[in-house]
């Protein structure tokens, strides 16, 4: 799952060097509109992120948890 998030970030033009579960999306330059773009990319890959969960996602680990990954 971590690999998938990494390639998702790369596809959307964000840096991924040294990415960990603690990495904050803001530190990668992902703002609220950027996060929406990431969730749309995820939707195309078959994952759904409920809108109400969006505001809870601050770090890579948060995203993995929402995706049901083993963070």
């Amino acid at each position: 799952m971590m690999d998938m998030v990494k390639s998702l970030l790369e596809e959307n033009g964000y840096p991924t060097e040294g990415l960990t579960e603690e990495t904050n999306f803001e530190s990668l330059g992902v703002d609220s509109l950027g996060l929406v773009d990431l969730t749309l990319s995820l939707e195309q890959k078959g994952y759904t992120i409920p809108e109400e969960k969006l505001s809870e996602i601050k770090t890579v680990g948060d995203l993995l948890r929402v995706l049901g990954g083993n963070a």
Partner: protein, 224 residues
């Protein structure tokens, strides 16, 4: 002039006279044009969100998108029914929103989106409350998308033609057409190709620093 459209792919929603003229112009430049509408090979009913799902897997394949789908129900407000109003808003405005929402992921970074508005968005027009309101809403949608999508280099603009020599205008009473022509500096209607040329310019990298704009293709209507 090299329009830099060769081998690029564009989706055109609405396959009426202006949509077809745009497709022809793009193909002449060596681009691929995909026409989408209820009666097109690529079927799409912009009033039915389900209809967009079949294109949900399109990912970063489009260099541009043109929204030309549009209808009008011309009646004075006193005679316009809620159903008339809703039908026009659903196709011209809600359909444009759904198109933007569902084709966003299909757009490449630095692509270009063009919406077909009309001079009546700013001018208003007797008998066109629904149509002119839908186009004014469309211009606000265009400006919002220009702001939201600039981060990806996606440019979003609108074209506001005056009357164009199309099926839509042959259905108008001659008196209305004459009134418009009289008020137009060039004293004639536009041909669909004249609108298509400006659409191609906005789709082309030649307009690379233009976004959030409404371009009038009106023969000088607003100047008259």
């Amino acid at each position: 002039m090299n329009w830099q459209l060769c081998e690029k792919t564009f989706a055109i929603v609405g396959s009426g006279d202006i949509g077809k003229a745009t497709a022809r112009a793009l193909e002449q430049e060596g681009a691929k044009a995909i026409l989408l509408s209820r009666k097109s090979e690529h079927c799409l009913d912009v009033t039915d969100e389900e209809s967009f799902k079949q294109y949900g897997s399109w990912s970063k394949i489009l260099d541009g998108l043109v929204y030309t789908a549009g209808i009008t129900v011309d009646k004075p407000v006193g005679l316009l029914t809620l159903a008339d109003w809703q039908r026009v808003i659903e196709t011209n405005l809600t359909g444009a929103f759904l198109t933007a929402k569902h084709f966003y992921m299909a757009l490449k970074p630095n692509s270009s989106v063009v919406f077909l508005s009309s001079i009546v968005a700013q001018w208003g027009n007797i008998g066109q409350a629904a149509y002119s309101s839908s186009k004014a809403g469309l211009e606000a949608l265009m400006k919002t998308l220009a702001k939201e999508w600039a981060r990806k280099g996606i440019r979003v603009n609108a074209i506001a033609p005056g009357l164009v020599n199309t099926k839509m205008t042959t259905e108008l009473p001659q008196m209305v057409v004459d009134g418009f022509t009289q008020h137009t500096l060039l004293k004639r209607l536009a041909e669909p190709e004249e609108v298509a040329n400006v659409i191609c310019f906005l789709l082309s990298p030649l307009s690379s620093f233009m976004t959030g704009q409404v371009i009038y293709v009106d023969g000088g209507f607003f100047t008259a």
